[in-house]
């Protein structure tokens, strides 16, 4: 499998570390909603098909990437920086909005 890192170009699977499901939403840090935390920490969407997920280019620039990959074929349809394409909620917060 090759993943095209936006910094480093197409690189082999062996340079990356899988960092899991990118569909999870981390509750507000101060939230005490146990169900929401449990869902975030333990539950996974585990899609058979297009799957949004994080990969770290650990053997390269070490950036976390948001990758959309088909779990049935391993075809990759999108790669971007997690910082820019991660959780919408986080991005909003980054822009100064309230999350």
């Amino acid at each position: 499998m090759l993943i095209t890192c936006p910094y480093c170009g197409p690189r082999d699977l062996s340079e990356y570390t899988y960092q899991g499901d990118a569909n999870r939403v981390r509750p507000d840090p101060a939230s005490t909603d146990q169900a929401a935390w449990n869902d975030y920490v333990y539950d996974r969407i585990n899609t058979a098909g297009e799957h949004r997920e994080f990969w770290q280019h650990s053997g390269g620039c070490r950036a976390h990437l948001l990758v959309t990959r088909n779990t049935l074929t391993h075809a990759i349809s999108f790669v971007g920086f997690a910082r820019e394409h991660g959780e919408p909620k986080h991005l909003e917060r980054r822009k100064g909005g309230k999350a």
């Binding site: 499998m1 197409p10 960092q19 449990n38």
Partner: protein, 998 residues
């Protein structure tokens, strides 16, 4: 009557003689021979014994699909088992032995198995060997008794135990077009693709490029096809943008057009060049792949079809055409298709006597008829071989009338005296790589074959791989594929070579089996017969996967290359379905077998890197016994002559408590956490507050995972307002780094923080003991180290021996202690300066054992206690859980199960019988070797405590805190250690910390 070398013809060099040994006998062959052709040329017909029935077997194919003729190659004590003779290029001194026979290939006692044929039919072992339900052989005993004999009989060659001394290389390659297969289609594809400068790699598993052109007898551009192919290969070899890889098997088609290939660099050489590897493992990443892998011929299934002398027609043709070897004096052909007729004509041209062509079809094409007459062969249409006869060599065949549509046999048998029967059941494209790439092969009724699936990755098929039956169509196909692969627009006027070849009918008759009395083999190596397939059907194992698994069809070393389609055909017939309704199995890597060492590549013998601290050599010179901690090597003890491990660490630990010691802490994880939001970030990462930490001070911190369990601990130093140096445990350095990066990239991208791993940039030494300040005072310049300048958890910058250092006063040992960090390149210089300065105080270097002893006495935790299952409170670190802020894990740490009273808690243990405690022992309330108690916990660390004069340990014990002062029993049945212990507080020594503060 036997095989022999013809006087002329073929591509072997008759002027060059090569000497080799087979089963201890010396033979000669010629340059260009395989072991198969050379042994045939010497009149050999018996090459091996089959797996189950030990039937005598000859060579059946001329390539990697060979199921029968496997040998073990010997290089001294190094053994290479199960290699088909058809794959081995001979060289002077080659030493091969036959397999799966005892005492000899000609006389094998295992052959008695065939007389039990009906008893040991497919799956027989599932129905017996269960043994008695009661008595001494109950349970698994009877089976295990029987299994011993079964195991002895199983397997083919012997593996050795001697390490392989050969070198293996790994290579990464990138190209625009990878052409797999160097036959006419592949060569044309390569030429077309390379014509506009694309980077092209062409791999072929054989020594010479050309594929079927090497022996087909076709004429291309007025030249013999073999010459045409050789010239084209030379032309490609001369192109800068083309790389030819002969003897290279592309065996795996992985994701992202990543292909794995094995190049046999020097297997064919008596003496490899200096530095030349045996094999090269290629990982090739290709923009586009051209699959021109050709096809495999199928056998026909009839009684006796495994007798030595029965071979595939294409193989017989190839032995004659390429190697100048006639596999028989009197050859007959038996076929369901036209390709055997071309073989017959070529055999005749090579000097063979072709007695007859037996064809199941009632009619044949005019072109086939013409070839038959060229071959001088009698044509027997509408007939079939109903029996092959002979023992260790074919003596003749029986032929009867055969109705292709119904399989009916009739009429009186005719006997033909032949010593070679060349059979052809049609051709199966080698779709393996395409199947690996994803996609399901599709059945083609006209060609009676599975054709490649629609591509799911970027590949284009060409030649016989796509079902193309003629050389002309393969060539045109190859050119088209090459242009397309390189993205060159076809003009429609590209020049194609002219091919002169017979116009044969590509469609075989849908007949693969002749049902007559006797054992008819489908999978030759595993001795799966047509009756076994029918038995599987009768017992309900009717899906193709059940068939394969129940009978082991297709599971032998050739992976069903010859047996797959005939097996399916028999099952389809039994079920009354068509072949595609029964289905095909998915092909998986490797396409053909690859040796383990080749894929391991250069990592043989040293599978992980060593990590060494800057002071490593010093430790070794001082006699340190080194200990592997993850990838690191760390001193365990600096043993003096005659000292035991315990004596050494006790001496070292005592020195720390009484005077001063020094330990290398360079392996600790070190992470620079920098930026305007660094303090905020650390507040979120650690359970305790770091934003309140003044510049120039350090603080002990604990971090949890998201699930609320303890993850790692360490001190973090505030070097500047926005500049922190975090330390982690040695084992978790990488994990913590990744944890921080994840949160910064994914969860809190709004934080302006940068983290950098600086573990390898800093060397560290901890100087510990009552005299530690004196040692520093003696060597540190540029700063004072007194209590005011450098209080507990204070940080100063100075120099030692002119080297800038950073010193933090913190303690793991419980003594007054300092960690001294300097640039890694100066680590040894600073270390030696500290040792020199410590001499007046008898400074002692100490290792991990003493470090462990000191920390156990102080009840500090490490990875043995922070084991991924413990909470902060379990470890008495609840005081670090800030209530002023949320932090990673804070929301999950109070779940019911994490605060349950039954949890294991950290305690101290004191041995009450004066004997050492053992790591990994369990703790019970009551119990003995005779009567094991109920485990209430386990020991995580043990030592002899010089401070207490006792054997002590740390343990995680259920509801441990409430047991302080109570007695329990250490229970270690594995090492037979039982005895009384007292459960105590986990801090054994100086609980108020006066020594390190003092």
């Amino acid at each position: 009557m036997s095989p022999r070398r013809s006087s002329a013809g073929g591509r072997v060099d008759r002027t060059r003689t090569i000497r080799f040994t087979f089963d201890g006998r010396s033979f000669t062959g010629h340059a260009g021979d395989t072991l198969a052709s050379a042994l045939l040329a010497n009149g050999m017909t018996l090459f091996g014994r089959s797996f189950k029935y030990h039937r005598p077997r000859g060579v059946m194919t001329a390539g990697i699909d060979e199921p029968n003729a496997l040998v073990t190659l010997l290089k001294g004590d190094i053994r290479e088992p199960n290699i088909p003779v058809t794959e081995i290029e001979i060289y002077d001194g080659l030493n091969a032995v036959s397999q799966n026979r005892s005492p000899s290939l000609a006389f094998d006692v295992g052959a008695i198995n065939q007389y039990a044929g009906k008893l040991i039919s497919a799956g027989f072992y599932y129905k017996t060997f269960m043994g008695p339900v009661i008595g001494p052989l109950k349970g698994t005993r009877f089976w295990m008794f029987c299994e011993r004999f079964i195991r002895r009989a199983a397997g083919l060659g012997h593996a050795g135990t001697t390490a392989d001394t050969a070198r293996y290389e790994r290579m990464n390659a990138f190209c625009d077009v990878l052409v797999v297969g160097g036959g006419p289609a592949g060569l044309m594809a390569a030429k077309a693709a390379a014509s506009d400068g694309a980077r092209v790699i062409v791999a072929d598993l054989e020594a010479a490029f050309g594929g079927t052109a090497k022996w087909s007898g076709d004429v291309i551009d007025g030249k013999p096809a073999s010459e045409w192919a050789a010239e084209l290969a030379d032309e490609l070899a001369g192109m800068e943008n083309v790389r030819l890889l002969p003897r290279t098997t592309v065996w795996g088609y992985y994701d992202g057009n990543t292909l794995a290939a094995l190049e046999r660099v020097s297997d064919h050489k008596a003496n490899p060049e200096s530095g030349e590897p045996r094999h090269r493992h290629w990982t090739i990443r290709a923009k586009t792949v051209v699959l021109a892998t050709g096809g495999f011929e199928r056998p026909l299934i009839f009684p006796g079809n495994d007798i030595p002398g029965v071979m595939l027609a294409g193989a017989v043709e190839r032995f004659a055409g390429e190697y100048g070897v006639l596999p028989g004096e009197r050859i007959a052909l038996f076929t369901n298709n036209d390709s055997a007729y071309a073989a017959a004509a070529n055999l005749k041209r090579a000097g063979a006597m072709v007695v007859a062509i037996i064809d199941v079809r009632p009619e044949i094409s005019a072109a086939a008829r013409e070839l038959a007459s060229k071959a001088g062969a009698e044509v027997r249409l509408g007939q079939a071989v109903v029996a092959a006869e002979g023992g260790k060599a074919l003596t003749g065949v029986k032929v009867r009338n055969f109705e292709a549509a119904t399989g009916m046999i009739s009429g009186d048998p005719a006997s033909l005296a032949v010593d070679c029967l060349a059979v052809s059941g049609g051709w199966s494209p080698a779709v393996h790589l395409a199947s690996q790439a994803g996609g399901k092969p599709e059945w083609d009724e006209a060609l009676q074959a599975f054709l490649p699936p629609k591509p799911t990755q970027k590949w284009i098929g060409a030649g016989a791989f796509t079902g193309a039956a003629t050389t002309a169509s393969a060539i045109a196909d190859g050119q088209r594929a090459g242009l397309k692969a390189a993205g060159i627009l076809a003009q429609g006027k590209e020049k194609l070579p002219s091919v002169s070849e017979p116009a044969l009918d590509p469609s075989p008759a849908p007949v693969l089996e002749v049902r007559a009395h006797g054992k008819a083999f489908v999978d030759f190596q595993h001795d799966v017969t047509a009756d076994d397939v029918r038995l599987a059907h009768q017992e309900g194992f009717i899906s193709v996967e059940h068939l394969k698994r129940y009978t082991t069809l297709g599971m032998a070393t050739d992976q069903g290359k010859t047996s797959n389609v005939p097996g399916l055909a028999i099952m389809a017939d039994a079920r009354g379905l068509s072949i595609p309704q029964v289905g095909t199995t998915r092909f998986r890597p490797p396409f053909s077998a690859v040796s383990l060492g080749s894929v391991a590549g250069e990592r043989v013998g040293h599978i992980r890197p060593d990590r060494l601290t800057p002071m490593h050599d010093w430790h070794v010179e001082q006699g340190a016994r080194m200990y592997a901690a993850g990838l690191w090597y760390r001193p365990m003890i600096y043993g003096a002559p005659g000292e035991t491990v315990e004596q050494a660490y006790v001496r070292e630990a005592k020195a720390v408590r009484e005077s001063v010691g020094i330990v290398d802490v360079s392996t600790l994880g070190k992470i620079a956490v920098q930026g305007p939001d660094a303090a905020e970030f650390l507040d979120r990462v650690y359970t305790n507050l770091f934003s309140t930490l003044p510049v120039g001070k350090a603080r002990y911190g604990l971090m949890l995972r998201e699930d609320g369990l303890a993850m790692d601990d360490g001190t973090t130093w505030r070097l500047g307002e926005n500049d922190f140096l975090m330390t982690t445990t040695t084992a978790n350095a990488g994990k913590v780094m990744q944890h921080l990066e994840y949160f910064l990239d994914v969860v809190w991208p709004e934080l302006k923080v940068h983290v950098t791993s600086v573990s390898d940039q800093w060397a560290g030494a901890a100087v510990a003991g009552p005299k530690s300040r004196d040692v520093l005072a003696a060597c540190v310049t540029g700063t004072k180290v007194d209590n005011e300048t450098l209080p507990f958890m204070g940080i100063v910058h100075g120099e030692i021996d002119g080297v800038p250092v950073m010193i933090c006063r913190l303690s793991f040992s419980g003594e007054m202690a300092f960690e001294v960090y300097c640039g890694a390149g100066y680590g040894l210089q600073v270390w030696e300066a500290l040792i020199e300065a410590g001499k007046p105080f008898n400074i002692v270097p100490y290792g991990l054992e003493a470090l462990g002893t000191l920390r156990i006495e102080k009840g500090h935790v490490t990875g043995a206690e922070i084991d991924g299952r413990t909470t902060a409170r379990d470890l008495h670190l609840g005081w670090l859980l800030s209530k002023k802020k949320p932090f990673i894990g804070s929301a999950m740490m109070d779940r019911e199960g994490f605060v349950a009273p039954t949890r294991l808690q950290l305690v101290g243990l004191v041995s009450l019988d004066g004997r050492p405690l053992t790591g990994g022992a369990h703790i019970v309330e009551n119990g003995s070797a005779e009567q094991l108690g109920q485990s209430i916990g386990h020991i995580t660390a043990t030592c002899y405590s010089p401070a207490l004069g006792k054997y002590i340990g740390l343990a995680l014990v259920r509801d441990g805190k409430s047991r302080h002062g109570k007695r329990a029993v250490i229970s270690d049945p594995l090492r037979d250690r039982f005895g009384p212990v007292e459960i105590v507080n986990h801090i054994f020594f100086d609980p108020d910390g006066s020594r390190m503060h003092g």
